[in-house]
């Protein structure tokens, strides 16, 4: 996988650097280090790098779909699944997209309304009706509006992450924005 292998090279922890000691130098490794422990540590490092790179995108997408709390739980469960099956999953090409589906399937059983509650938001940060209006969109409309409009993702990025076709994302985006503006009473099209 790209992220993990890049990190492996950067950290000098890959097989090529770790296994080969230049002539005349002493290896830092303990000669009798447990190979299992070494694999575990290496996997953990790779996984941490993967989480650092992927978690924000995954969390944003699942929070957009299910609300902050359920979205976070879905992200945690998807990442926990990735960790538990890391040896198998790390070779998947579009692992963030795969984990988005894992998060979706883990959250689907809840079937509860979406909540966008912010505990300590000052009144002037955003329109107080925005969380309710956003929650009133369909799941796909919310995904498109939040990721494309709120975070500036490209249609292609959203399509790769969510498994929805680009043209469909575009449709959901325009309908979602229109509905959001209607619900918030915005009429100037800004």
């Amino acid at each position: 996988m790209r992220v993990a292998s890049g990190l492996r090279t950067a950290n000098g922890a890959g097989p090529a650097t770790r296994g080969s000691t230049p002539a005349g130098q002493v290896s830092n490794e303990r000669p009798n280090a447990d190979p299992a422990e070494r694999d575990k540590a290496s996997a953990r490092t790779e996984f941490e790098a993967f989480v650092a790179a992927t978690e924000p995108r995954l969390n944003r997408a699942l929070a957009a779909a299910y609300g902050f709390e359920d979205g976070r739980d879905a992200t945690a469960e998807a990442l926990a699944y990735a960790w538990e099956h890391w040896a198998r999953l790390q070779h998947i090409t579009n692992l963030p997209g795969y984990l988005f589906r894992v998060g979706q399937s883990r959250s689907r059983r809840r079937r509860q309304p979406v909540v966008f509650a912010v505990p300590d938001a000052p009144d002037y940060a955003f329109e107080p009706g925005l969380p309710g209006a956003l929650a009133g969109l369909t799941e796909r409309q919310r995904l498109a509006v939040v990721l494309v409009h709120g975070y500036g993702y490209t249609l292609r990025e959203v399509a790769e992450l969510t498994g929805i076709r680009q043209t469909t994302v575009q449709n959901h985006l325009s309908r979602g924005l229109q509905r959001l503006r209607e619900r918030m009473g915005v009429t100037d099209g800004s």
Binding site: P35, A36, D39, K40, A43, F47, E48, V51, E55, N59, R60, A63, A64, F68, E69, R72, D73, T75, A76, L79, A80, A82, W83, E84, H85, W86, A87, R88, Q112, P113, V115, F116, A117, V118, P119, D120, A121, P122, D123, Y124, A125, F126, E127, P128, G129, L130, P131, G132, L134, A135, V145, H149, G150, Y151, L177, L180, R181, G185, V186, S190
Partner: protein, 368 residues
């Protein structure tokens, strides 16, 4: 306030999203090693190690659950164990364990916290209403941001209403759609605070009793915290919880709580069930307009009196429109099950909640 909608969405999401660090994922994961058992280069070694890890994890989980519920007790016969086939064996909590849970929860939520309350009412298999309340409290200050959504029923269009009720230093504020648009109002009439009727999400916790015989049903993750699920196996053993003051939506038919490693309740799900007599209109009666008026009256009652839809229907039947409908067209009356499910999720337990008075609010007297 950010002028652009995209900026507002960005700010909202960034304020609400809490990151999930890798360390949390690894520590909360049921398996401590990412390698599947028996598929490594050292199958014998790995499977033995895997078994050791798994056993340690199960033992730790059992110990945590029991220590939380009953300090100093033996883990031998009270904790959730695993049967020979590896299946979770339910264990009923003793009175002392439940007392420990209620005490820990009461203490943790005594000063401040936050609760997301999600409710859903289904009448005769048809969804009547869903609602969400985001309630935060800090000492005497309270904030309740709620949304009620009613799907399209019997020709009436779907509707959704949102509002915010807030109490800051004894002053009452609310934010809702008035005739002149969305605005904050400062209510200064008598009993302005009590008229806001912000529900206390901790009320249910006070009524948990050992007679309900809570049994362990497994573990899951809520809010990034590993929790134990406890289900009441005898819901009739909760007489005070069944009183209309605490739970107005019929007799409780199911109650589940999720408890963290410190014995604090993180989530509660309650289901209530009652039989409601529902009037049915004869086919082809041609009373669509009256019916729409009747339903508008029902919704108005729900909003004004904070009634459940089924209760509002019963009340509205005695209005002028309702009587007229009954006399002319209401021909069939049948009994249907009205099922209300409510989930309360506690977050920010014991953490200070920032609840400020709105910067600008229109002062109104006695509107309630």
């Amino acid at each position: 306030m950010a002028a652009d909608l995209k900026d507002q969405i960005h700010i909202l999401m960034e304020r609400g999203i809490r990151p999930v660090p890798a360390a949390e994922v690894v520590s909360q994961s049921a398996r401590t090693s990412p390698f599947p058992e028996g598929k490594s280069r050292w199958p014998g070694l790995r499977s033995r190690r895997g078994a050791t890890f798994a056993t340690a994890a199960v033992a730790a989980a059992c110990a945590a659950a029991v220590v939380a519920a009953q300090p100093g007790a033996s883990t031998g016969n009270t904790g959730a164990g695993r049967g020979r086939a590896g299946r979770q064996v339910p264990a009923v909590l003793t009175a002392a364990m439940l007392q420990q849970v209620t005490a820990a929860s009461r203490l943790a939520l005594a000063q401040s916290g936050r609760a997301i309350v999600v409710s859903r009412e289904v009448l005769g298999g048809t969804l009547q209403q869903t609602g969400t309340d985001d309630i935060s409290f800090d000492g005497r200050n309270w904030n309740d941001s709620f949304t009620m959504t009613t799907p399209a029923i019997a020709g009436a269009p779907a509707s959704s209403e949102s509002a915010i009720n807030r109490v800051v230093d004894g002053s009452a504020y609310d934010y809702f759609v008035a005739a002149d648009g969305l605005a904050w109002y400062h209510e200064v009439g008598p009993d302005a605070v009590s008229k806001l009727a912000i529900p206390d999400p901790r009320a249910l916790l006070r009524e948990l009793a050992p007679a309900a015989r809570f049994a362990r049903e497994g573990t899951s993750v809520i809010g990034g915290v590993r929790v134990t699920r406890l289900t009441a196996t005898n819901v009739t053993g909760l007489p005070t919880l069944n009183s209309p003051d605490i739970w107005p939506a019929g007799a409780i038919s199911a109650l589940t709580i999720w408890v963290d490693g410190n014995g604090v309740v993180r989530q509660v799900t309650v289901t209530g069930k009652q039989d409601v007599r529902v009037g049915m209109l004869a086919p082809g009666a041609g009373v669509r307009r009256e019916l729409a008026q009747f339903l508008a009256g029902v919704r108005d009652l729900e909003k004004r009196e904070h009634l459940a839809p089924a209760q509002a229907i019963e009340r509205e039947k005695f209005s002028v429109i309702g009587r007229d409908l009954r006399q002319r067209h209401l021909e069939v009356v049948k009994t249907e099950a009205d099922v209300t499910t409510m989930t309360i999720r506690f977050t920010g337990i014991g953490q200070p909640q920032i609840i400020r008075a709105p910067a600008h609010a229109i002062r109104v007297y006695g509107r309630g």
